[in-house]
């Protein structure tokens, strides 16, 4: 019978009387404890009346690559009754896996794409933590895979789908993820063993027994507790306006649509923190015309206002040496580092900053005339670069280090007189004009223009490249408006700008559209 004539799902209860193996696949990253978990399962089975076979292909995958550990269990009494040893397989057959354990969410997705998870049979236990793949990490923007796609697929593909952050649980219990996952495996009751038998396997293992048992219990409890509500995308806390900002906040609440309040308030707080209340007030002034646009016919929603507000706030609070010094000296920052480095009460913490300002960054915070002179004057620029040498390690927790940064941060009040401040205000105005101008005729395109400053990021060369890309897009805009579908074209160009860190992809994309390339700063 040709395969194509078969129905799609296997009927249940095939070979009901025949004894068969229990098949378990563990998907993990090398060096992550997948082997420990497989060993526990083998030990558990062998001490509970089952024959067990496990194998893996560690190879070089022991170094952070995806690895599959595969375990098969077979009841000893069935083997005795048959008077024969069972023949166990060395690799999983799609459709024939009883339990899939994934130590990370994308690995769960990988198991599903390999066909290991099927609705008639498979219990899928997945840890929802993400260990990002290299391709996700090196993206210039946001290259992260869609976690919801994994959860959705897990729900669709598995008979039972248990998904919790077993990595965080392990961390909380100062143990390893194999222990929490082992707990979850006990909890789902897919294997014919009792909890005590699982725990006995950990005890026989003899390594870090008490912490492993604690993590095991936590994993067990998490897997048996009700499913967590579908996790909302992490929303950072909206700040609450302090007394100095109260008037501006009130003005904002009264005059702007509620959908934009969160971002606007964050923007106000950012700028008052960055400079002062007056600067925050400028922010609202700048947004008034955009808000009026949104109220006109064709101004569909608050998206243009919100996105403009977002990037305006970020641009107005550009990172100069003053800002960096300011942020590095704060108490909250010290506390954060303290917590991240897990400093115990009887330990001391020292914080060393890696700074390497270039002559451009010096010029940024000098008064306009002096800054321009420094950039124009070869010998002076060389001198500054020579002085900064190979970069500086500054210990913020030392008195002298702290005082240097504290003094630098205190230059804040002089910032409006600096070279960079003047330059950025001019560029901000140009951009806002473009947004306004475009919005009169093409709302969708205006939204894209509003998002363009997202390209301008980083410091040093990264910042230069981002700025150049941004300017290229702004220069291309007039010509772009004469083409069809300019909004999606601009979006594509923005993606091209984020596709590599040399600007080559953007150049090619611009050339393809016969648009001007490059841009002066």
């Amino acid at each position: 019978m040709p395969i194509s004539q078969l129905s799609q799902s296997a009927p249940s209860g095939t070979g009901a009387a025949a004894a068969r193996s229990i098949n378990i696949a563990i998907l993990a990253m090398g060096g992550e404890g997948g082997g420990v978990l497989a060993d526990w399962i083998v030990d558990l089975a062998e001490n509970s009346g089952y024959l067990a076979q496990t194998t893996s292909v560690p190879g070089v995958a022991q170094r952070t690559g995806s690895t599959i550990y595969y375990v098969e269990l077979f009841p000893e009494d069935a083997a005795r009754a048959a008077g024969k040893q069972p023949v166990l397989a060395l690799m999983p057959v799609p459709g024939e896996v009883d339990v899939v354990i994934a130590s990370e969410l994308m690995e769960a997705g990988r198991a599903i794409t390999r066909g290991l998870v099927t609705p008639d049979r498979t219990t899928l236990i997945a840890s929802t933590n993400r260990v990002y793949a290299m391709t996700e990490k090196i993206a210039m923007g946001d290259g992260r895979a869609d976690a919801d796609a994994f959860l959705q697929a897990g729900g669709d593909a598995a008979r039972v789908f248990i998904h919790r952050d077993f990595a965080a649980l392990a961390e909380q219990n100062r143990s390893v993820i194999s222990a929490t996952l082992f707990g979850a495996l006990a909890a789902v009751e897919t294997l014919p063993f009792r909890r005590q038998q699982f725990e006995a396997a950990i005890e026989r293992g003899g390594i870090s027994v008490s912490s492993s048992l604690k993590a095991f219990a936590a994993g067990f409890a998490a897997a048996t507790s009700p499913e967590p509500v579908k996790s909302e995308p992490i929303v950072s806390a909206v700040p609450k306006a302090g007394p100095g900002l109260a008037a501006l906040a009130a003005r904002m609440t009264a005059g702007f649509p509620p959908a934009s309040h969160a971002i606007l308030l964050a923007g106000l707080a950012r700028l008052a923190d960055y400079q002062d209340i007056a600067y925050a007030s400028t922010y609202l002034d700048r947004l008034e015309p955009i808000r009026s646009l949104a109220q006109q016919p064709g101004g569909h929603d608050a998206a243009l206002l919100t996105e403009t507000a977002r990037y305006l706030a970020l641009w107005m609070s550009y990172e100069d040496a003053i800002r960096v010094a300011d942020l590095k000296t704060r108490r909250a920052r010290f506390e954060r580092v303290h917590a991240d480095a897990r400093v115990a009460d009887d330990q001391l913490l020292l914080i060393n900053e890696f700074l390497h300002p270039r002559v451009e960054e010096f010029a940024d915070i000098l008064p306009v005339a002096l800054g321009s002179w420094l950039l124009k004057t070869g010998w002076a620029a060389r001198l500054v670069n020579r002085l900064t040498g190979k970069g500086k390690i500054l210990q913020t927790t030392s008195l002298w280090g702290f005082l240097q940064l504290y003094w630098l941060a205190s230059l804040r009040r002089w910032r409006p007189k600096t070279l960079r401040f003047q330059r950025e205000q001019q560029r901000i105005s140009n951009w806002l004009e473009q947004v306004k101008d475009v919005a009169q005729v093409d709302y969708a395109l205006a939204l894209e223009v509003a998002e363009c400053p997202r390209l301008v990021k980083g410091y040093g060369d990264t910042y230069l490249l981002g700025s150049r890309n941004f300017e290229s897009l702004m220069r291309a805009l007039p010509r772009l408006r004469q083409l069809d579908n300019p909004a999606s074209r601009l979006k594509d160009l923005r993606h091209a700008a984020l596709a590599d860190d040399t600007g080559k992809k953007l150049e090619d994309a611009l050339a393809k559209l016969n648009l001007p390339q490059g841009g002066a700063l």
Partner: protein, 719 residues
């Protein structure tokens, strides 16, 4: 030596008659060698047989007790040549390496060994690294067996069969004066199972006996007329002897013969997959009771003509289950049946797959296709398993899912000292433009993957510099850069690369990555390892060796984490006016092994109350703008991304995980590439001294005073 110990595994080697051995396949082989009265064992490490070497290293006591000599061979060629001890003496010897890469290297010695033949049993245990997760070219050891006429065993992948294959391998070798190759697939090497052990056997004829009573037989030497004699011997004596011995001792197995007028001929190594497929198709059960006749080739070379004819006689068709290509067995079957004028149809690659691993899915679908053609009445369509059914179309999440699942290849470990070498090269290339880079085998080959994307080819272990040999012309001042690991260097690179470059007056650059171990194979010792090893000579200098073969321009970096220094040394090597071969020795200990060594020490020191400083890096999320250029220059597993805590920003920020070991690369990169001020190094002092504490109290008082001033300003903005 690597700081891993196999004491538990070593204990298993002591098991005696009737006791049950539980463990990995490759350990079972180790035990089987001792049970077979082996006199010497040699090999070169590499997945999947590294464990055999590692366990024997820790088992020196038991080896000495049994009079067994064990060597870490300099290369697979050395290992294979070691088997010469069995040419003139009744000594059983075994060598092991990764195949086919190791077999390639060993083939000169293997060919000589096979030509003259052996008196003592000579066993070559190859770990066949084929299929998923393999890091080498996809070829077959089978070809080597055929070309040199070495018998090839491919036992069923369970421990009793594997152990039996070792024992039978020695006997077969002795009965036929021919070396025997035991092929173990990667999953079989790592399979956990059990077998009933026997006592270890001290060889009745020892190395001492041989050395004190030397014998020679010029007819065993490959030189005319001996070499012509050997060829005739192979055909006239050894081949028939093997046909007879294998048949008489029933090395191959037949199951369920007569059950159908068709059957399956399979490599022993494929047995479990075939049995599972039959079980799923309801043509067999979990115990291997098959309704389809099976002819299991535990010996895949040579085929036993009489057995083949016997099995095929009266069968309309057979399916050959032969993994890898070319399809040597299938072709051979055709020839045997044709000569015997048997009409049996031979199927194989036409119903399975021409290339690629024979996964459970491929095997099951292939057998289904075969049985559909020859025994369709046996199949119950309603009972067929999921794997042979068309994929369920209902799920529209699958395409979305597939677009989201990204590859996760192996990569440099956290704190790896090799990574900054490539960061330095990337920075040098920013200034000097791209160069042709020749890669080698070892962890450093991960450079070809993101984020580095460095390296144009790899031609084999230790052949990094050799593979750039052609690029030697006066028509350009541009130089090539080649890489080589310390493992590859001692394996053959010293002569094939360095000697070659000196002799041919090459004007190019070689980087020798000196991390004190053959790290990629599990951290074994080599001549330049820094650890003192009681049974091996270590701590020799690579730079001295290079100088010894005549290189004048040698630079050594003793701390590869110094990215700026690495960058500058590359710039110098690529631009210096000095002509001739240039060698950069880049030294820093493999972080994986270093951590294994240091972690317990640090813990002990802290517990003893000593002052210990732990370093780790961090990124300030509020100054990080989420451009990830730091990650593109590093690729450290501990340097990753996290959701942006800032409501205004959308791109994820860089972050350093707690697994950071404070190697310093993040800071060095931030400096050398002038990246961004977000990186900091946290130093956590355990058991601080009184002076530490006093300083901290004083500083904190002043700093907290000033921080309260900052807080007061910020309190007006937000609460």
């Amino acid at each position: 030596m690597a700081e891993r110990f196999f004491k538990k595994e070593v204990q298993k080697l002591y098991l005696g008659e009737g006791q049950e051995f539980r463990g990995e396949g490759i350990l079972a082989v180790t035990k089987a060698l001792l049970q077979s009265g082996v006199s010497y064992v040699a090999g070169y490490q590499g997945a999947p047989i590294s464990h055999l070497m590692d366990v024997l290293t820790d088992a020196n006591d038991i080896l000495v007790e049994l009079g067994v000599h064990f060597e870490h061979s300099a290369s697979e060629a050395t290992a294979a040549a070691t088997l010469a001890a069995s040419v003139n003496y009744p000594l059983r010897g075994a060598v092991t390496f990764k195949s086919t890469v190791g077999t390639n290297v060993a083939s000169d010695a293997l060919a000589n060994l096979a030509s003259g033949g052996v008196i003592g049993g000579a066993l070559i245990i190859v770990g066949e690294d084929y299929g998923e997760g393999s890091s080498i070219m996809q070829e077959r050891s089978h070809a080597f067996a055929m070309k040199s006429q070495i018998w090839l065993l491919d036992p069923r992948p369970n421990l009793p069969s594997i152990v039996q294959a070792v024992e039978q391998g020695f006997a077969l070798s002795e009965a036929t004066n021919t070396p025997v190759m035991l092929e173990l697939r990667i999953r079989a090497c790592h399979v956990h199972g059990r077998f009933i052990a026997k006592n270890n056997v001290r060889p009745h004829f020892t190395l001492k006996d041989a050395m004190e009573n030397p014998v020679r037989d010029a007819s065993r030497v490959v030189l005319p007329p001996g070499s012509f004699l050997h060829e005739h011997e192979k055909i006239e004596k050894r081949w028939p002897a093997a046909q007879q011995w294998i048949r008489e001792n029933r090395l191959n197995e037949v199951f369920a013969n007569g059950a159908q007028d068709f059957g399956i001929i399979l490599q022993g190594g494929m047995y479990n997959a075939v049995v599972r497929a039959l079980e799923l198709l309801d043509l067999g059960n979990a115990f291997g009771d098959s309704q389809v006749p099976l002819y299991v080739l535990n010996v895949t070379y040579p085929l036993i003509d009489a057995e083949v004819k016997e099995f095929c006689a009266g069968k309309r068709a057979v399916l050959v289950m032969e993994e890898g290509q070319p399809d040597f067995i299938e072709q051979n079957l055709h020839a045997i049946l044709r000569k015997a004028e048997l009409p049996t149809v031979v199927h194989g690659k036409d119903m399975l797959a021409m290339a690629g691993e024979y996964t459970a899915a491929v095997v099951t679908r292939g057998i289904l296709k075969f049985v559909e053609s020859y025994g369709n009445n046996l199949l119950e369509p309603q009972k067929l398993p999921t794997v042979v059914r068309p994929p369920a179309t209902k799920s529209d999440t699958l395409p979305i899912l597939q677009s989201q699942v990204q590859p996760r290849p192996p990569s440099f470990c956290t704190g790896c000292p090799e990574r900054p070498i490539f960061t330095g090269l990337k920075l040098a290339e920013r200034e000097l433009g791209p160069h042709h880079v020749a890669s080698d085998i070892g962890c450093h080959l991960f450079s070809i993957l993101p984020p580095f994307n460095i390296g144009a080819h790899t031609m084999g272990y230790g052949l990094g510099w050799a593979s750039a040999a052609a690029f030697n012309t006066h028509e350009t001042s541009k130089r090539t850069i080649s890489f080589m690991g310390d493992g590859g260097f001692w394996h053959n690179g010293l002569t094939s690369g360095v000697g070659n470059a000196v002799f041919n007056q090459s004007d190019s650059v070689l980087v020798i990555v000196d991390n004190s171990y053959t790290a990629a194979t599990g951290g074994q010792d080599i001549l330049s390892s820094q650890a003192r090893n009681p049974i091996r000579t270590t701590r020799l200098s690579i730079a001295d060796a290079v100088r010894g073969v005549g290189v004048k321009w040698i630079k050594t970096i003793t701390r590869t984490y110094d990215v700026a220094a690495v960058r500058d040394i590359f710039k110098e090597a690529l631009t210096t006016k000095e002509k001739g071969p240039k060698v950069i020795v880049a030294q820093s200990e493999c972080a994986l092994n270093e951590q294994r060594r240091l972690k317990p020490l640090v813990k002990k020191r802290i517990d003893e109350g000593q002052r210990v400083v732990r370093e780790r890096f961090g990124v300030d999320a509020d100054t990080c703008t989420g451009d990830h250029s730091c990650i593109r220059l590093s690729g450290c597993p501990s340097l990753t991304i996290a959701p942006n805590p800032d409501l205004l920003r959308q791109d994820p920020v860089a972050t350093v995980l707690d697994s950071c070991i404070g190697c310093g690369v993040c800071g060095e990169v931030a400096h050398a590439a002038r990246l961004c001020p977000s990186f900091f190094r946290a130093e956590v002092i355990s058991n601080p001294s009184a002076w530490d504490r006093m300083k901290a109290r004083f500083r904190n008082t002043v700093i907290q005073l000033l921080q309260r001033r900052i807080d007061r300003r910020l309190a007006r903005v937000t609460t």
